[in-house]
């Protein structure tokens, strides 16, 4: 029982940044834009969050600055792909490479500088042996779950959400009835950047209180895969993020505990999220139900003929 609780607490910690980054990417992709720069934006958010926390000691300000850094990077992506209609795949990959390099440069003088982790929101309940599984976390874990509901509500129940989906499904039609496709996509891309930045800032603020180059170690790519795995739906994303987090965490608990699961080679554990994503893609393609499919305009630059 105690161990189960402990595992779940670690799972939530590991899943939270993936969930936050993937939620941002989900909104971006629903507007018809594919931004593969999540990993790079996360690293920029991580270094910005670290630096601000180190100098001010304020975790919330650090999260906000992480979001700002991710958003600033996403604006570069937005300008190139939306205003200049550059190839989204190539620009996204370039953004990841840029984010990796720039964060390393900015963080070079911050090695050997520890910071402190964010404290749980409910300190008394966080010490409870059982209730800590629900109340034992710092702000980002709750923020992530709140955003699942908020994004679901936004996409499903608001006019702005409908417009965003329309832009992603059929940009020309949305354009012809008077909506600014480019403007909507800019907002979506900036939102995705801010979420990726927060997700990155979670690493030094909630997981391991230090700056290390490349410290997100591929979680941005898992977030991108997760959006596909969740077939672009917020609640499936929530389930998928915790499932991926469970896979990543169980590997370590199984090996440390020496049980039967520890016989599974670590390479297989590491590949599981991607194998699951491919399996979901195959399942989607087998189904005729169009609503489970990717946004129709995903990855296509918007170029009205006149």
């Amino acid at each position: 029982m105690d161990l189960t609780i402990a595992i779940l607490v670690t799972v939530v910690g590991a899943s939270t940044p993936i969930l936050i980054a993937a939620l941002g990417e989900l909104v971006v992709e629903r507007s018809g834009v594919l931004n593969l720069g999540v990993e790079g934006m996360m690293l920029l958010g991580a270094i910005a969050g670290f630096v601000v926390q180190f100098h001010t000691g304020n975790h919330y300000l650090a999260l906000i600055c992480g979001a700002a850094a991710g958003m600033a990077a996403s604006l570069i992506f937005g300008f190139l792909t939306l205003s200049l209609s550059a190839n989204q795949t190539a620009t996204g990959l370039a953004l990841t490479i840029f984010g990796t390099g720039f964060s390393a440069l900015a963080g070079a003088s911050y090695s050997a500088r520890p910071v402190t982790l964010m404290s749980p929101i409910f300190p008394e309940l966080a010490a409870h042996p059982v209730l800590r599984v629900i109340f034992g976390y710092s702000f980002p874990a709750y923020f992530a779950i709140f955003m699942v509901f908020a994004i679901w509500f936004f996409l499903k129940r608001t006019r702005a959400g409908l417009i965003l989906r329309a832009v992603g499904e059929n940009d020309l039609s949305a354009h012809s009835i008077g909506y600014s496709v480019i403007k909507v996509r800019y907002f979506a891309v900036m939102f995705g950047g801010a979420m990726a930045g927060i997700a990155g800032a979670c690493f030094p603020l909630t997981l391991t209180p230090q700056w290390a180059e490349g410290m997100t170690a591929g979680r941005g790519w898992i977030a991108v895969a997760l959006v596909v795995f969740a077939s672009w739906r917020p609640f499936r994303l929530l389930g998928g993020a915790y499932l991926f987090g469970l896979v990543m965490t169980m590997e370590l608990y199984a090996k440390a505990g020496g049980g039967p699961l520890s016989a599974i080679p670590s390479e297989l554990w590491a590949a599981l999220p991607y194998i699951a994503t491919i399996a979901v893609l195959v399942l989607i393609s087998l189904r005729r139900d169009a609503s489970t499919n990717a946004p129709a305009c995903l990855g296509k630059p918007f170029m009205p003929s006149n």
Binding site: P114, T208, G214, A217
Partner: protein, 361 residues
């Protein structure tokens, strides 16, 4: 390359300020260029940081006679080949490849540059112009093991490893052998995370082990993440790896194994400058000061410090070798007979765990 007058004055001046070089420096038309290849970032506060300190040590001691350059974050694999070649083409006459996985690349590129001296750390493949160097980190781990054996209340330690290569396996075994000399019940659970640098995964691995009852943690990865989790959870303690990591966990680091590559790099650089370099195969440890122990934390009791120091000085004067039999493997089969000490070759190919290790799959 012609020797300009200015260049001659510069080199000559450098040689005069550095009498240890003797007349040999006059034979060098230019500075000796030395290249270093690191698998991770020089800011990792651990393994790569330590190698880079070694590079700076050479610059400090030889000044203008040398020019060093380094490439960090080089993946182990085909990419390394390109980096080795580039450094050689840029005129490096001495190249240090500082990670185990660079071996294949060095062996492949070295024949193309017969006038370049290559040195590969922690490897096993030599060639006409490829030497090997290594440090007996296991000696430091034995000192840590003594402390762990005394201080652990659960008699269980966790050990985060990168990959199950002999270098890592040897360290785990040394740690356990030393701990079990103190407490025969002592066991260790190694967890391999298949990466040298993923702090969040290291931290989660530490959490996974602490949640399952270990109260001492050691690691063979490049950063302080595990030590920070140990501090967060308030377990008995952990050990710095590669460098003093007490800044990250001032109340948790019991001691640290510090890599001190400087003297070795300096010796190799001098040998190349003097034209006496030959591909060596050095494996130095506490005695040669290539491995150092960090300060003992004040919470380590005096008698434990004494026992740890006995292990350290014993290895320096040669009276103690941790891999002396009888040694049983984890299945209970005797692998090393009483009184027999394992040879270096046996150690460098160690692929089995000693008794007390709960082997990973």
């Amino acid at each position: 390359m012609t020797l300009s007058r200015r260049g001659f004055i510069k080199v000559g001046g450098a040689a005069m300020t550095l009498p240890l070089l003797g007349g040999a420096a006059f034979g060098q038309a230019e500075k000796l260029k030395i290249g270093f290849i690191y698998v991770g970032s020089i800011n990792d506060n651990g393994y790569n940081y330590a190698h880079n300190q070694g590079r700076l040590y050479v610059e400090e001691n030889l000044g203008d006679a040398v020019e060093t350059m380094f490439v960090e974050n080089v993946p182990e694999g085909p990419d390394c080949e390109r980096v080795v070649r580039e450094l050689a083409q840029q005129g490096c006459k001495l190249i240090f490849a500082t990670s185990f996985g660079f071996g294949d690349s060095v062996i492949k590129v070295a024949p193309e540059f017969p006038d370049v001296a290559f040195e590969h750390a922690t490897g096993y493949m030599k060639a006409d112009n490829v030497g090997l160097y290594n440090a007996r980190f296991y000696e430091g781990r034995a000192v840590c093991g003594v402390i762990a054996g005394h201080m652990s209340k659960t008699a269980k330690a966790g050990y985060i490893g990168s990959f199950p290569i002999p270098e890592v396996v040897m360290g785990i075994n040394s740690f356990v052998l030393a701990a079990r000399q103190v407490n025969p019940e002592f066991t260790i659970t190694p967890v391999y995370i298949s990466t040298w640098n993923d702090p969040a995964k290291e931290a989660d691995a530490a959490r996974a082990m602490i949640d399952q009852g270990i109260d001492i943690i050691a690691q063979h990865t490049d950063g302080p993440a595990a030590l920070q989790v140990a501090a967060e959870r308030g377990i008995v303690g952990g050990f710095g790896q590669g460098a003093d990591m007490s800044a990250f966990a001032p109340e948790t680091q019991l001691t640290a194994i510090i890599d001190h590559w400087g003297p070795h790099y300096l010796a190799s650089a001098k040998a190349v400058l003097e034209g006496t370099w030959a591909p060596g195969d050095t494996w130095e440890g506490l005695k040669e000061d290539v491995v150092q122990m960090g300060p003992y934390h004040s919470k380590v009791p005096a008698d434990v410090v004494k026992a740890a120091e006995a292990m350290r000085t014993g290895q320096i004067d040669g009276s103690v070798h941790i891999f002396t039999g009888p040694i049983k493997d984890h299945t209970g089969t005797e692998r090393v007979a009483a009184g027999v000490t394992m040879t270096d070759a046996e150690l460098l190919s160690m692929d089995w765990y000693v008794e007390g290790v709960i082997p990973p799959a």
